[in-house]
């Protein structure tokens, strides 16, 4: 009975993963397709991977995308973490109001957020890289807050208060006591923000200035005439790199944890 259940749950999880990864598989296959059309199979080729690295526009867009992703995720994580700390210390009423506002970017249709920001930005600044950066930070912050908040809630704040009472300044107490405990929440917030930024199209499209291209805006421009196969190749590469990084960190942290678990009884 129990074994049967275990098999069933493995199968279920596998099916969910299949569902999530089927389109990815499809795109990976297309990156090896020796035809410019996505609906005809022209044989296996690595050509697109080679051509990718001689296409300066795609590489430029990749650089912009990465700079935007890392930059916006870093800013969002910084502001969002501090924000979450502050919000948590607020009184109930203020807390509710701020959390409601925090949800607005999540609740609004992307296109509305994008156009609202564009209409607002053009009043006082030229659109360029900075405006997209601000846009991305804005829609990423809620995800950071939402992932740091639960960790804060589990936190025992009395230690922090005690440290303050004993004369530690805020930054020091934060770094020594709070940060180690919410670190995982911050990291996942960062990763989430990075992912959202890499995947966004609509908000980027409306807030970007002339000549600023990300991979998504490039792909969008290609829809009509057919997506360039180089894009499939690049997506596959990005995907592979992230997957490898994840596998490595998981392997390392897994070993770290095992070691820690072994050590614990001796403490």
């Amino acid at each position: 009975m129990v074994r049967w259940k275990r098999v069933l749950s493995k199968v279920y999880l596998a099916l969910i993963f299949l569902f999530l990864y089927l389109p990815i598989l499809m795109l990976i296959v297309l990156s090896f397709n020796n035809s410019r059309s996505r609906v005809t199979w022209g044989g296996f080729t690595l050509n697109w991977y080679v051509r990718l690295f001689s296409d300066s526009r795609i590489l430029d867009a990749l650089r912009t995308t990465l700079a935007l992703g890392i930059g916006s995720a870093a800013i969002a994580t910084l502001i969002g973490t501090l924000g979450a700390m502050g919000i948590q210390a607020m009184k109930r009423r203020n807390y509710q109001i701020v959390m409601a506002v925090t949800n607005i970017p999540v609740l609004n249709a992307d296109i509305v957020t994008g156009i609202a920001m564009m209409l607002w930005f053009v009043r006082f600044m030229p659109l360029g890289f900075s405006s997209v950066l601000i846009g991305h930070v804005t829609f990423s912050i809620p995800y950071v807050i939402l992932s740091v908040m639960p960790k804060l809630r589990q936190l025992n704040l009395s230690i922090y208060e005690a440290a303050r009472d004993l004369g530690a300044n805020g930054v020091y107490a934060f770094g020594k006591i709070i940060l180690p405990q919410i670190w995982t929440g911050i990291l996942s917030g960062f990763f989430m923000a990075l992912t959202m930024s890499m995947d966004d199209f609509v908000i980027t499209y409306f807030t970007k200035g002339a000549g600023v291209n990300t991979l998504s805006t490039m792909i969008y421009g290609e829809i009509r005439k057919g997506i360039k196969p180089e894009m499939y190749a690049l997506s596959t590469l990005i995907f592979a790199v992230v997957l490898i990084i994840l596998l490595c960190t998981n392997f390392l942290s897994g070993r770290g944890k095992e070691a820690a678990e072994k050590k614990q009884p001796a403490d």
Binding site: Y12, I16, L22, P23, I24, M26, L30, R38, I79, G80, L82, G83, M85, G86, Q88, M90, R92, Q96, V98, V101, I104, V106, L107, N108, A109, I111, V112, T113, I115, A116, M117, L119, W120, V137, T138, I141, Y143, L146, S147, M149, P150, K151, F191, M192, M196, M198, D199, F201, L215, S216, I219, I223, I227, M231, S235, F239, V242, S253, G254, K257
Partner: protein, 271 residues
């Protein structure tokens, strides 16, 4: 410095880049081409066509949310039973697909579901007739569930994994069977996670015009498609703003009911 002031940069940011832009849209919603005040744009959500699109979007979003919940709970329960370090990995695997461009992934679904697509090829191998699900609400539903499922699994999983094993053991000792444990312990304790899942699935599912356009074959009109049409095709920004603001009010009101019990004590979690 008091801890609540740490939120200052965030509050400045929110006011500068969320609230003020929203007010810009709000002003645009309440004026006409000549800049005169009008309620018309806000009320146009009641027009027969817009109302129909709204109701249809509600139905689709509701269906999508329910399916996501139904799929997410077993997945989250299974993930909970995995070994600790495998767990974090399984979760990262959930968001990993988002590193492939969204438009590309939706186009891939179109290729999978089309009459000569991968799915029908496989079904044909099994000897069954071709399925006609491309360009329909079913395809739209599949695409939406696909796109938003991780946003349901993650918060539900987090809520479930935060439940103390002792609580469950206690329930069992008191004679609860699996079913009772789920309904009486796990579900109520994971409700906050489910609610944040609902927030992140329900609203986007109503407005995801790209999925509707590509997988619905342009025959399906979500409220998001109408807003998009007002902004980019009809170039009627006032009407578009009006619709978005009324949609937002509508969503906020319905969420206020859902979240009434969810503030401060339990809060929302996505991890």
């Amino acid at each position: 410095m008091k801890r609540k002031y740490w939120a200052a940069p965030y509050l400045v940011w929110v006011v500068g880049f969320v609230v003020l832009p929203l007010i810009t849209i709000g002003v645009s919603a309440m004026t006409d081409d000549q800049g005169h005040f009008t309620w018309e744009n806000l009320l146009s959500i009641g027009d027969p066509i817009n109302r129909q699109a709204l109701l249809f979007s509600l139905a689709i979003a509701l269906g999508c949310t329910v399916i996501c919940i139904l799929l997410a709970y077993p997945a989250a329960m299974i993930l909970r039973s995995l070994r600790l370090n495998k767990r974090g990995f399984a979760i990262l695997i959930m968001i990993l697909p988002m590193w492939m461009n969204f438009i590309l992934r939706i186009l891939a679904w179109q290729m999978i579901l089309s009459p000569n697509g991968v799915l029908n090829f496989l079904i044909g191998k099994l000897g069954a007739g071709p399925l006609q699900i491309s360009n329909s609400w079913i395809a739209l539903m599949i695409g939406s569930v696909y796109d938003f499922l991780p946003f349901m699994i993650l918060p539900v999983f987090n809520a479930i994994s935060d439940i103390d094993e002792d609580t469950i053991e206690a329930a069992r000792d008191l004679g609860a069977n699996d079913r009772a444990v789920f309904w009486k312990v796990i579900l109520p304790l994971s409700a906050p996670g489910m609610i944040s899942g609902i927030i992140m699935v329900f609203v986007p599912a109503m407005t995801s015009f790209v999925i509707a356009d590509i997988l619905g074959g342009g025959k399906i009109q979500l409220i998001g498609n109408i807003i998009e049409q007002e902004f980019t095709k009809s170039m009627n920004w006032h009407a578009g703003s009006g619709l978005s603001i009324s949609l937002m009010i509508f969503v906020l009101i319905s969420l206020a009911f859902t979240m009434k019990n969810d503030l401060k004590d339990k809060g929302t979690t996505i991890w």
